[in-house]
């Protein structure tokens, strides 16, 4: 037993010394992008913990922290986001001291107004699911197009009709759907920390209390969309029906239509029917949340 304890002690001290060595290496100057990659990839766990710690501190200081697993996961998710950006952008900053550069990058993120979409209800499984979809839609066109499916239950053909796209764009929509089904959805669920059990529970809730489930989802997705819509270009504001009509009729603003209508429930109601040359295509769309792709 005393041998085992000794081994544990040795193991711990070894880990400590490795950690210290990694930290000191991160504090030294790296001169080339390759050297940067090498040093940072060895220190990923440490850097992830560091970014997570900073995010926790930010949440505590802004009165948004609770000691529970949801908040821990939230901090981890954003720590990982910052680390990914650091891995890509940091190598263009050589020569630099990676640790200090990383700290400055995280601090810069936290100095922005509303650096992330925080709402206590968005930390629960349904909220995390919706937050994950909207957050991913900002950086991935596949996820953006998939939002039409997850929010309204539409397939590629309906998306093309509603947004009034032409032939070339239509092909892309089919491709977006396929890639999302193949890998995009699973990756997003993994990155949001949604387990299989949680997803199964969401599906079960949807079956049992469909109306309540959709109503709750609508409230939450409005919060998420309002936050992530800010990531659109500045010239993509909400429009009146006549303005949407003009855009659809004259065939411009393809990106505008795709990006804004996916991220705005109200504008979808406003622009409903314009994509199919003004002919009536049934009732205005209502939120029908789909958990699976």
């Amino acid at each position: 037993m005393s041998v085992t304890r000794m081994q544990n002690t040795v193991g711990k001290s070894q880990t400590m010394s490795d950690r210290t060595a990694t930290a000191s290496r991160l504090e030294e100057v790296v001169s080339t992008p390759d050297e940067f990659d090498q040093v940072v990839l060895q220190a990923l766990p440490m850097l992830l913990d560091r970014a997570t710690g900073s995010t926790k501190r930010f949440l505590r200081e802004t009165g948004q922290w609770n000691d529970d697993i949801e908040h821990e996961k939230f901090a981890l998710r954003w720590g990982s986001e910052y680390l990914e950006r650091f891995l890509v952008c940091g190598r263009t900053e050589v020569p630099c001291r990676p640790l200090f550069l990383f700290d400055s990058l995280v601090a810069k993120q936290h100095s922005k107004p509303e650096p992330f979409c925080y709402h206590p209800d968005l930390l629960r499984p349904l909220g995390r699911f919706l937050d994950g979809l909207a957050a991913r839609a900002v950086i991935s066109r596949d996820a953006l197009i998939a939002l039409y499916h997850h929010v309204y239950g539409w397939g590629p053909g309906e998306v093309i009709a509603v947004t009034g796209l032409n032939g070339l764009e239509s092909q892309r929509i089919y491709k977006n759907f396929r890639r999302w089904r193949d890998a995009g959805w699973q990756r997003t669920m993994d990155e949001m920390g949604l387990t299989k059990a949680e997803l199964a529970e969401l599906g079960s809730q949807q079956q049992r209390h469909r109306q309540r489930f959709n109503s709750e989802a609508e409230q939450l997705i409005r919060v998420a969309q309002a936050h992530y819509r800010k990531s659109e270009p500045n010239h993509y504001p909400c429009l009146s029906r006549s303005q949407w009509g003009e855009m659809f009729t004259q065939g411009y603003g393809c990106d505008y239509r795709i990006w804004h209508l996916a991220l705005c429930l109200d504008c979808m109601q406003t622009a409903w029917g314009l994509g199919s040359n003004g002919s009536a295509i049934g009732e205005k769309p209502r939120l029908e949340l789909q958990v699976r792709p």
Binding site: I69, L76, S80, L87, G90, T92, R179, P233
Partner: protein, 427 residues
Amino acid sequence: MGQEEDLELYRSRLLESLNGRSSRYLRDASDPIQVYVNERRVGELEGTGIGAMLRVQCVDHIDTVQLRTEEGTLLGGLVAPEHGFRTDRLRLSFDAIELCVHNTAQGGMLSALFIPAPGFWSRAWKSIAETVDRLVPHRLDAALAYGMRSVAFTQALLAVAVVGLVADRVTTWTWMTPEPTPSPVVQTASLPASPPVETARLGQQLDEVARIQAKIGEALASQQNGIVQLHQAVAKLSSTQESVVSSVVMVKEEVKEELEKRLEAVGREADRTTRHVASKGRVEQEQLEAAIHSLTADNDRLSKEVAGLEENNQALKTKLQAANASKAVDPNPDRLLARQTDASRQPLQLADSLPGSQQQPFLFWVTFSEGTSQESIDQWVNGMKGHKGAVNEGWQEVRIVPPPVPPDRFLEQIRGEKIVKAARISQ
């Protein structure tokens, strides 16, 4: 599963995802590349084998640029400084993207250029050059690499040519000799035994090759010198550029200051002029106001006078109308005549502006003898073509056309009339 384990699993999954980033770099070549500036999507670059370009002008500074696939995978990016340029070349398998960010006080500008993978021959040439480069015994400065590669490649070609020449000679000798081909050892040994002319020729060629090599060495040295000079020139140019930039900034500042000073001076002058003009204007305005005030007063006075005159006029008109009306209804001819006389007298008073051709009537007063009838009186007055006026204390006013004789004589004549008791001119 406990919460701690769940959290640990999530953490390790995130770490795996971060570690596996490089393996997800593969993308569909036909998909556009999404371009994000300051984490906002600004457009996309076509990645279908043509050199596409995207230019973005921002009002704000550009902090970060990110390139993502349609799936959302982060392909690359850069962090830009607050002021100045930052460029980076991002490799995507064989393709590349050149990013250039320029931040100024007015905002930021991004240009992203997609450089497609080079063709087969270009790649083949590059691989040959790289192979030759590896054969070069020492690595030089990156800037010299291209020159070195060219020289090394030429050397390799020369060596191949020499070997080919030797082989050719050996083959020729072998072909000329009828004996079977000797073993390599024998061949080596038999070389000195070859004809001295050929040996001399070979030696001459080798000398020539050595001379060419020496020339190449010299050329290389001169090229190195040139490159060093080029480096120095580039350094000098960049320092000059910096100084030019700083002087431009200084000049801008000076111009700005000068402009501000001038604007201030112009402002002061304009202010003074404005004050002068304003005071002058005030004086003139006061004078004008006084003039207007006096004009207004005069106008008021005139208006009152006109109103008074109009009132009088109106009253006279009313009287005249009344007189006319009574003329129409009154059966008493005396009263009518009196009224007519009365009414006609008023306009006469007013008619100052009547022409002088109209003579003034001659007015006198008479008393009649007792018992004279009114009829006789009227006949007497009519006989004189006169008009009776008012009667005051027995005296009858009579108007006639001025007599051709003097008034005294006229009065004497009147007094001589049978019915007339007395006559006088004044009342």
